[in-house]
């Protein structure tokens, strides 16, 4: 893999920087510039190590910018953004998940110039990444990647109950789950207040029954389709799921699956990637490596179709940053192909790139188990459907209303009441100017 030198970077990134190139040194602003970069603690720890140990050191050599990477639990990013914006000080670059850039657009630097170049250079940006990071005509964040969500399941346990192909409808999945739970291997799914797995399950589940939040600006959640989805879920949960899932965050299902407690769970590829990394540690009850018993499948379909929601990741350059220019240059450099490739490969398919060109990368040919993730993001819908994933949709997510719609029902609230409650909450949010 080619090393990106300062010269190559400057040549590639902007002709306007030719003068700086001629001076044969890092741009004056960048010399000694320090940037703070806040990201989540990656579910693929090798990628955080790569960033810390290799990529940031190269950035310092190539750009003269010292970047300090801070990683936190993803659920703690939003509170950090709030405190940073309100106090006017904090990390220069902040990673965001989902449609959060819509909430913070007023506090970010316009990055339209670098996103447009990225779009042009790397085969176009996926629609979902565009929808979350662009606010009106301006880009509030630079699309980085998307975490694909598929069901990871134990092939041998499904075979044991006579299910050789993964169930393609909710009814079939429920029947399989019933048998698996009877065998001591329930399905695992969080319905807790957490950023990833909970919305990645609940929203597509709602859509697959034909339910949706809004239509032409009007809240339409209280539909027959939504009600049917809730009714089905109450039985499905008790019969097939590990009911502890109500208290799970995004890490519990990983631990439960890797320790052989659950047979299937909607997740990013982190379970498989971890099993792959430590085949000696994670084994089946027969003593064979767990990785060889894991398969991936899309969420089943319902009467309304088959849908998915994947988690877009973007980077915001904060308006309060005194080094916004350096931050933008760092992001340009980071997403140049040779640099991005290192990170992309380290993810082993856990994240797909925000741009389409990376679908062609040879990494996808290395492991057929990961192949379903390659084009997963192309089929995803976004929050707030069929409205835009704007700040109101982000607020619905921040209040976990769609997740609680199901969590309340499985805890005993009447389905009609749960739907009425969630619709009422949505109406309050969407009636705001």
């Amino acid at each position: 893999m080619a090393r990106v030198t300062r010269r190559k970077f400057l040549q590639a990134s902007s002709a306007g920087l030719a003068g700086i190139l001629a001076a044969r040194q890092a741009p004056a602003f960048a010399q000694g510039t320090a940037l703070g970069w806040l990201r989540w603690s990656d579910f693929v720890p090798a990628s955080d190590q790569l960033l810390r140990n290799e990529i940031l050191a190269e950035a310092q050599k190539a750009l003269g910018i010292k970047v300090t990477l801070e990683t936190v639990n993803a659920n703690d990013i939003q509170p950090r953004v709030t405190s940073a914006v309100q106090s006017g000080t904090g990390p220069d670059i902040i990673m965001t998940l989902s449609n959060w850039p819509q909430l913070y657009a007023d506090s970010t630097v316009d990055v339209t110039d670098i996103v447009e170049k990225l779009d042009k250079d790397q085969g176009g940006i996926y629609e979902t990444n565009v929808a979350v990071a662009r606010v009106g005509k301006r880009w509030a964040a630079v699309p980085w990647a998307t975490v694909g969500f598929l069901i990871a399941y134990r092939k041998s346990w499904f075979d044991q109950i006579g299910v050789s192909a993964f169930p393609d409808t909710w009814e079939k999945y429920r029947e399989a789950g019933k048998k698996l739970k009877a065998n001591g291997h329930p399905l695992g799914q969080t319905l807790g207040h957490t950023f990833g797995d909970a919305p990645a399950f609940c929203y597509p589940y709602l859509w697959s029954w034909g339910g949706r939040e809004v239509d032409e600006g009007k809240v339409v959640l209280d539909s027959k389709a939504t009600l049917e989805s809730v009714r089905f879920m109450t039985g499905f949960w008790k019969e097939a799921h590990d009911e502890g899932g109500l208290a799970w965050d995004d890490t519990n299902n990983n631990r439960a699956f890797l320790s052989g407690e659950i047979s299937a769970t909607l997740n990013g590829a982190s379970i498989y990637v971890e099993a792959l990394r430590k085949p000696e540690q994670y084994k089946t009850e027969k003593g064979t490596p767990l990785k060889d018993d894991i398969q991936h499948a899309a969420l089943p379909k319902g009467p309304g179709g088959r849908f998915s929601y994947h988690l877009p990741i973007s980077h915001m350059v904060m308006k309060y940053s005194k080094n916004a220019k350096a931050a933008k240059d760092f992001l340009v450099w980071l997403q140049l192909k040779p640099m991005f490739e290192k990170w992309f490969v380290s993810q082993k398919g856990y994240s797909v790139a925000a741009t389409k060109e990376w679908e062609k990368h040879p990494m996808w040919q290395q492991d057929p188990i990961m192949l379903p993730f390659r084009s997963a993001t192309a089929t995803g819908r976004m929050l707030g459907y069929s409205g835009p994933p704007d700040k109101r949709a982000a607020e619905v997510l921040s209040r976990y209303i769609i997740i609680d719609l199901y969590a309340k029902a499985v805890q005993g609230m009447k389905p009609e009441e749960a739907v009425r409650w969630a619709s009422g909450e949505l109406r309050k949010i969407y009636s705001q100017v």
Partner: protein, 310 residues
């Protein structure tokens, strides 16, 4: 004091100017009060005033918003999650305080007796209170883990249960677990304060009551309890304030879940204000705590004054 030595002698004693200032009681009082006033103004009064201002505006993260009067309060009042959180807060505070008081009193009465290793037991009793809340709550969270709970494992292994108990995954269970952890953590504060109160009670009173034929319960109810009441009320006031505005314990243990069933006013205010960036709404919700706590403090202190006056 200033009349003791004439001015010229004071000068000889050294630091004429400063001694003069130090001996002026008004200035000394101001100087001693100043640090407390500065700290309270900076960390209590300023945030409180800002919270009131935020609550009256439509401020969101990165958007200063505009003055909207009491709209945030009205919105919170009609918000079903806020209503749940408020009820939860009252429930949580009431039961946790009752348990802390009852168990703390029992513990104090036990520790007031003479036994071997008394000092070590008294000191170790304070451990839950000393350990940072976040750390101890994390330990409890692991003990109540939906999948790997050591309590479930133990009960299952000893044959008491066949299915896991839903410690944190059932709304009611989760609330009682939170009350249990709060009681575990807060009980030592009650016990040590009540113990201090117990030790001020003259043993002669108990002896006299015993001679008059009072049994243990009568001695507690007619001698100990009335004499301990002022201390008890003070400790209950402190505890109610802390429990009603509790945040850390719920944030770490349940995050307010499942489905808001353990959300307290403070955790919901945080979720909206800091998590979702709706600072105005978050501030309005947090301010709902103020009148309740003010009323509790006022009633209890009034009662206390009446007892002292009697």
């Amino acid at each position: 004091m200033s009349s003791i030595a004439p001015a010229h002698q004071r000068k000889r004693l050294g630091g004429s100017h400063w001694t003069g200032i130090a001996e002026n009681e008004r200035i000394l009082a101001l100087a001693l009060l100043a640090p407390a006033v500065v700290i309270l103004s900076t960390f209590i009064a300023y945030p409180f005033v800002m919270a009131i201002w935020f609550a009256l505006t439509s401020i969101r993260v990165g958007d200063p918003g505009e003055f909207i009067g009491l709209a945030n309060f009205a919105k919170a009042w009609h918000d079903s999650i806020f209503q749940t959180a408020f009820k939860n807060t009252v429930f949580y505070t009431s039961w946790a305080t009752i348990f802390k008081l009852t168990l703390g009193m029992c513990l104090a009465l036990l520790l007031n007796r003479h036994f071997r290793l008394k000092r070590i037991v008294r000191a170790s009793m304070l451990l839950p209170f000393i350990i940072p809340t976040v750390l101890s709550t994390f330990a409890w969270r692991w003990m109540f883990d939906p999948t790997f709970s050591v309590v479930n494992w133990l009960l299952y292994r000893t044959g008491f249960i066949t299915n896991r108990l839903p410690f944190l995954s059932d709304g009611d269970w989760a609330m009682w677990c939170a009350i249990l952890v709060n009681t575990w953590r807060g009980m030592p504060f009650f016990a040590i304060t009540l113990l201090a109160g117990l030790q001020t009670i003259n043993p002669d009173l108990h002896e006299a009551a015993a001679l008059d034929g009072a049994n243990a319960w009568h001695r507690f109810w007619h001698v100990t309890w009335p004499l301990l009441l002022p201390v008890t009320l003070v400790v209950v006031v402190f505890s109610v304030i802390q429990t009603f505005s509790d945040f850390q314990l719920i944030y770490v243990l349940t995050g307010g879940g499942p489905a808001n069933s353990t959300h307290l006013v403070a955790t919901y205010a945080y979720q909206l204000g800091v998590g979702a960036g709706l600072l105005g709404e978050g501030a309005a919700i947090s301010l709902f705590m103020f009148p309740v706590l003010f009323a509790v403090v006022w009633i209890q202190l009034r009662y206390l004054r009446r007892i002292e006056g009697a």
